[in-house]
C-alpha cells in the first residue's frame, strides 16, 4: 500500500518547514510543493501561511494552484488551513484595506478588538472551547486543550462553521469547519503534543492510517 500522501501547498509564504516536520513526525509522506500535479495526487491538502492577508492571497492566486485545489475539494479531498491559510478561506479580510478571499467558508476576517489591557497581537497559549463535538480536529484532544496562537486578525463566521473558539476578552474563532474543509487559527505544528493530536485527528478522518506500526 502506498503511503498516505499530504501536499503542503507552497505559495512562498510561511514557515513550511515546521508544518512539514510535524506531519512527517506522524509518519505520513508530506511534500512541500507548488506543483499542480502534486495537488492532484494528494490524499489531503494543508494550506499554511503567516504574515499579511493580501500578499498571501496574491501569492496564492499567482501560484495558479487555486483551480487544482478547488478541483480536489470538489472530490472530497480534505483541506486544513493554518493561521493565514485558514483566514484565506473567508469571503474577505479587512487587513490593510478590504481584500477578497477564497470565499469557501462565508465570513469576514476582522481585526481583534480585545478590551483595554489586552494587546494585539494575541500571542501565546490559549485553551479552546470545542463547539462542533464531532469535528475530527478535536477528536483526540477535547475541550480545554491549549494551542499556540499568534495573530492580529481573526475569522468571524457563522456559528454553523465555527468549530472552536477561545477567550481573549472577546471570543476568538479558533477553528472553522465546513464539511471536509477545515481551518485553525492557531499553530498545531508548534503546539507540542496537542498539535500533533489535532493533526492526527485530521489525517485519520481523511483516511490516513492511525498511530502504530505500519
Amino acid at each position: 500500500m502506498s503511503r498516505f500522501r499530504v501536499c503542503i501547498v507552497d505559495y512562498e509564504v510561511g514557515n513550511l518547514r515546521s508544518v512539514h516536520n510535524a506531519i512527517s513526525r506522524l509518519g505520513y509522506d508530506a511534500r512541500v510543493s507548488d506543483s499542480a500535479d502534486e495537488v492532484r495526487r494528494a490524499d489531503a491538502l494543508v494550506l499554511p501561511g503567516v504574515g499579511a492577508f493580501e500578499p498571501a492571497m496574491r501569492q496564492l492566486s499567482a501560484s495558479g494552484l487555486i483551480g487544482p485545489i478547488e478541483a480536489r475539494l470538489s472530490r472530497g479531498t480534505p483541506l486544513l488551513g493554518i493561521c493565514v491559510g485558514m483566514q484565506l478561506l473567508a469571503t474577505d479580510s479587512e487587513e490593510n484595506g478590504l481584500h477578497r478571499g477564497l470565499g469557501w467558508i462565508p465570513g469576514h476576517v476582522r481585526r481583534l478588538r480585545p478590551p483595554s489591557g489586552l494587546g494585539v497581537p494575541h500571542v501565546g497559549w490559549n485553551d479552546v472551547r470545542v463547539l462542533l463535538p464531532g469535528s475530527p480536529l478535536f477528536a483526540r484532544t477535547g475541550d480545554g486543550t491549549h494551542f499556540y496562537f499568534d495573530h492580529t486578525y481573526h475569522f468571524e463566521c457563522g456559528v454553523e462553521h465555527a468549530a472552536a473558539t477561545c477567550d481573549y476578552g472577546v471570543t476568538v474563532t479558533a477553528a472553522v469547519q465546513r464539511e471536509r474543509l477545515m481551518g485553525v487559527q492557531f499553530h498545531p505544528e508548534k503546539s507540542q503534543a496537542a498539535g500533533l493530536r489535532l493533526l492526527r485527528g485530521f489525517f485519520v478522518a481523511a483516511g490516513a492510517p492511525g498511530p502504530g506500526p505500519c
Binding site: N15, N21, L26, A52, G124, N126, T152, K190
Partner: protein, 289 residues
C-alpha cells in the same frame, strides 16, 4: 484564557548552548538540538535561541543550526543573533523559526523592524533590548560598545513597538548569571511602557522567581537560560510551582507534579515509601499520538 508563558533561552556560543555568567563568561551545556528536545518535552511554552557572538563577529546566526533545533522541537521558536537583512529573516523562517529577535540592527537601522513587520507580519518581530543599571537607574545598553544608550528606557521601548515590533524581549544584563531573581522594576517599567507582550530575561535562579515575575509585573513571559539546564524536568517542576501559586500557566505534560512536595530550593522531594511502593504496581502506558 491566554496563559502567561514560561520560555527557555538557548544561549549559543560556537555552536553549543552555554550558561552565561556576568554577560561574558560561558560554561558549555551541550548541543542545541538536544537541549531543545528536552525543554520541549518538559512543556516549555517557547524557545528563544540567541547566538551570543554573532553581532560581535559580524555574522548571522546559523540557519543550519536553527533548522536542527526546529526539527527537534514542536514549540514556538524565536531566533536572534546578528540579523540585519530581510533575506536572512526569510531564510530563518524557512528553516523553522517563527519569530526573529533583532537587537543591534534595530538601533543601527530602525526601519528594519518595520520592514520585517510589513513583509512577515508584526507577530514575527521581537525587538531585543539589553538593559543595565547605571547608578541604580535602568538604562538601555549596547553590548558591543559596553555603554548605555542616550535614550531613556521607556522611550526606547515605545519607539520599538511603534516601529512594528510584535513583542519585546528585555534582558537585565546586570543580573546575567546572578540567579538572584528578576529585576522586577525593569519588568514593570517595560510592561507598562508598551501594549505588546513583554518577555523578561535575566536573573532567574529559583523556581519561585518565574511566578514572582509574572505575579508582580505585567510581563507576558518569564524567560530563563542557565536555570533550566542540568535539572531533570526543570520546566515542568517550575510550572507546577507557578500553578500552585495561582499563576495562570499551561500545564499539559504527562508529569504534572501537582501533588509533589518541594524543598526550600524548589527541588522535588522524594515521595513517601508507601506511595513509591504503590507506584511499582501502576502501569503508565506511553502515549502514542
Amino acid at each position: 484564557m491566554l496563559k502567561r508563558r514560561i520560555a527557555a533561552a538557548l544561549l549559543v556560543s560556537r555552536g553549543l548552548v552555554v550558561q552565561s555568567l556576568g554577560f561574558g563568561r560561558r560554561l558549555p551545556v551541550g548541543r542545541p538540538e538536544i537541549a531543545a528536545e528536552f525543554l520541549d518535552r518538559w512543556g516549555v511554552d517557547e524557545l528563544v535561541l540567541l547566538d551570543l557572538d554573532a553581532s560581535r563577529e559580524g555574522r548571522q546566526v546559523s540557519v543550519e543550526l536553527v533548522a536542527r533545533v526546529a526539527a527537534a522541537s514542536n514549540v514556538p521558536l524565536a531566533v536572534g543573533g546578528g540579523l540585519d537583512s530581510l533575506s536572512q529573516v526569510d531564510a530563518l523562517l524557512r528553516a523553522g523559526a517563527d519569530k526573529v529577535c533583532v537587537n543591534r540592527a534595530a538601533r543601527a537601522r530602525p526601519a528594519l523592524v518595520t520592514e520585517i513587520a510589513r513583509r512577515f507580519g508584526d507577530q514575527c518581530v521581537v525587538a531585543a533590548v539589553d538593559v543595565t543599571r547605571v547608578d541604580g537607574v535602568l538604562r538601555p545598553w549596547c553590548h558591543l560598545e559596553r555603554a548605555p544608550l542616550e535614550v531613556a528606557l521607556d522611550v526606547h521601548l515605545r519607539d520599538l513597538a511603534a516601529l512594528g515590533a510584535g513583542e519585546l524581549l528585555v534582558q537585565a544584563t546586570h543580573l546575567d548569571g546572578a540567579g538572584t531573581g528578576y529585576d522586577l522594576e525593569l519588568a514593570r517599567v517595560a510592561a507598562s511602557a508598551v501594549d505588546v507582550p513583554v518577555l523578561v530575561l535575566g536573573g532567574a535562579g529559583h523556581p519561585s522567581h518565574l511566578p514572582e515575575l509574572l505575579e508582580q509585573s505585567g510581563a507576558a513571559c518569564a524567560v530563563a537560560g542557565n536555570f533550566f539546564h542540568f535539572a531533570e524536568h526543570s520546566v515542568t517542576v517550575t510550572k507546577a510551582q507557578a500553578a500552585r501559586r495561582g499563576v495562570a500557566v499551561r500545564v499539559d505534560t504527562a508529569a504534572r507534579y501537582d501533588d509533589a512536595r518541594f524543598d526550600d530550593d524548589g527541588r522535588l522531594l522524594k515521595r513517601d515509601d508507601d506511595v513509591l511502593d504503590a507506584m511499582l504496581h501502576t502501569r503508565i502506558p506511553r502515549e502514542v499520538i
